[in-house]
């Protein structure tokens, strides 16, 4: 179990992690979401005792990580798969870790098998692709067979096959009853794997909720209507109980009415429609709603330049094309 209480980390004037409090409970996949620069990596480094908090505290299984002796059997983590010495073979890269953790070297071969690197065990890591390094990193994390796993953006930069592999591993670890804490800057990435979601923006916690609740919200739909006579249609839709948002060039976004009712209303009044379609609400919209309060809070509290709002956070999280 990982517990953060008021955890804060400042680098000079940058507040990378701002008063974070949450608990990662046992036995499921928790997604840790936030746009680039939101403080995900820093949070993981603080959990692992690599960086010192400026304020607050974090414990792993009730104890500060720095107080542990050889915690490989408690926590396994993959922060940066490229952080390996290129001149060392995969076998030796895992062997020095096993030895430091007091783990028998036969486990190194088991782990190499598990991540599918047995054939290249003697090859230098410098020649490995990112996907192979990712496998090696997962192997490191699994050496101590830990019940808690931390992965920082594990699918970043991977090809589809690599992404598929990572997803299947995470699912498997969760099925084995392990706790998986995994970060991403893409909300869609979490949709398929996580049971619980934590959202951060500018180092602050924006949302902490079960995935089921999140998908319920994202199941909200709206109807997209485009009409040359949009202005005339709007009051009729509102009179029928719809909530209408006006876009440019006759675009309307309507909630509270289904497409059939809108089509009938337009037909009765002879209003021509050039488009009428039901839309599943975007993840963005779901999170906009979720974070509505914090948006207002932020708009009032932190209106200084460069400070992102929850809205921006959400926009970046859902901008799949961006990365």
């Amino acid at each position: 179990m990982i517990e953060l209480r008021g955890l804060t980390k400042r680098y000079g004037t940058t507040t990378a992690v701002d008063n974070l409090s949450f608990t990662v409970g046992a036995g499921h996949i928790t997604g840790f979401l936030g746009p680039n620069g939101a403080g995900k990596t820093t949070t993981m480094r603080l959990i692992l005792g690599l960086d010192n908090p400026t304020g607050g505290s974090v414990t792993v299984n009730g104890e500060s990580y720095r107080d542990k002796r050889a915690p490989m059997h408690e926590v396994g983590a993959l922060i940066d798969p490229s952080a390996v010495h290129g001149g060392r073979s995969a076998y030796y890269h895992l062997l020095w870790q096993a030895q430091a953790g007091g783990i028998h070297k036969s486990r190194v071969d088991d782990v190499l098998d598990m991540v599918g690197l047995a054939d290249v065990a003697g090859k230098k890591v410098g020649g490995f692709s990112l996907g192979m390094r990712q496998r090696l990193g997962i192997g490191s994390a699994m050496l101590g067979d830990p019940p808690v796993l931390l992965f920082d953006e594990p699918v970043n930069g991977l090809d589809p096959e690599g992404i598929q592999w990572i997803r299947s591993m995470m699912k498997r670890f969760a099925e084995e009853g392990r706790t998986v804490f995994v970060s991403s800057h893409l909300m869609s990435e979490m949709e398929q794997t996580a049971d619980h979601v934590l959202v951060v923006g500018r180092g602050q916690l924006i949302a902490d909720l079960p995935m089921s609740e999140f998908t319920q919200r994202s199941a909200l739909t709206h109807v997209r209507v485009v009409s040359p006579d949009a202005a005339r249609l709007t009051p009729h839709l509102e009179a029928m109980g719809g909530v209408v948002k006006n876009g440019t060039r006759g675009e309307l976004s309507v909630t509270g009415l289904d497409a059939g009712a809108i089509g009938a209303a337009a037909f009765e009044r002879g209003i021509r429609l050039s488009e009428l379609s039901s839309q599943r609400a975007s993840l963005e919209a779901a999170f906009m709603e979720l974070t509505h309060d914090s948006v207002e809070y932020r708009a009032n509290e932190t209106s200084k330049a460069g400070s992102s709002t929850a809205e921006e956070t959400v926009r970046e999280l859902t901008a799949e094309g961006a990365s």
């Binding site: 005792g49 050889a70 490989m72 010495h85 290129g86 020095w96 007091g102 101590g144």
Partner: protein, 277 residues
């Protein structure tokens, strides 16, 4: 692929694998990269080879030297010209054992696996010190003996390694100098974390005083340079004669060397323990 999850209790030797495991792990890191062996081999090979070449050059030209030059020829200090290489490579050993982990980012994995940073630091320091000792324990007597052999074959005055001055010189340079070079540069590496900066700083700190000493005012030589580790080494080995401005007698010289060693390790260990990785 079958899920072969070995229950933790079967693979964990103990909850605290102890310092021996740390030493074993650090040794695996060192021996599993080629550069360790190359640097060690180069340090021994280049220093002995260079000393031999210089001794040969002296042998071939000795007859043409002036009478005063011939009479004052010192077969002890002249035999170790290869230190030029071994000392720099000792610095490389001390620095790269640390900075290769920082430049690759692997240092985070190291401290994630071993959160007791002092243990990692101590295990690394011991291994780096031992490698430095081994390099000079071979290279220094090697340079000395090969040079004497060559001097002898050209009729140049030689000295036996059992001669008191020769023994003192060889023992100090073989066993004390490598500890100060590897461990002080090791400490500097933990403080600076970059290979180039740490090597430059170490060479500057260990060598510049020796090079610049003759150019600096007497009071600086006497009150500053004299208390730097490599100058104290030179007093210990007999390279700096009594009466010289930078000379320290034996006991203070030993203390100066020890204080620099312990002090630099303590400072680096302290800083490492407090700061972000």
């Amino acid at each position: 692929m079958a899920a072969t999850t070995v229950p933790a209790q079967h693979i964990i030797a103990s909850r605290d694998p102890g310092f021996g495991a740390q030493l074993q792990s650090e040794w695996t890191k060192l021996r599993s990269v080629r550069s360790t062996w190359i640097v060690t081999g180069l340090a021994v090979g280049l220093s002995i080879g260079f000393s031999a070449a210089v001794a040969l050059a002296m042998g071939l030209t000795f007859d043409s030297w002036g009478a005063v030059e011939q009479a004052t020829f010192d077969p002890i200090t002249n035999s170790l010209t290869g230190l030029l290489f071994s000392l720099i490579l000792l610095i490389v050993v001390g620095v790269t054992a640390v900075t290769s982990e920082y430049s690759s980012g692997m240092i985070s994995t190291t401290f994630m696996i071993s959160p007791q940073r002092a243990r990692v630091f101590a295990a690394k320091a011991i291994l780096v010190g031992v490698i430095g000792l081994l390099i000079h324990a071979i290279a220094v007597p090697g340079m000395f003996l090969v040079s004497q052999l060559i001097y002898g074959s050209y009729g140049i005055p030689t000295v036996s390694i059992t001669d008191t001055d020769a023994t003192r010189f060889v023992v100090v340079v073989a066993l004390v100098v490598p500890l100060s070079y590897t461990l002080i540069s090791f400490s500097i590496a933990f403080l600076l974390r970059g290979t180039a900066s740490a090597i430059t700083a170490s060479i500057g700190f260990m060598w510049l005083p020796f090079m610049l000493a003759p150019l600096l005012p007497a009071w600086i030589q006497q009150n500053v340079l004299r208390f730097l580790p490599d100058m104290a080494n030179d007093s210990l080995s007999g390279l700096t004669p009594p009466g010289s401005l930078t000379y320290l007698s034996q006991t203070p010289a030993i203390m100066v060397v020890a204080i620099w060693l312990v002090g630099s390790l303590a400072l680096a260990g302290f800083v490492l323990n407090r700061r972000d990785v």
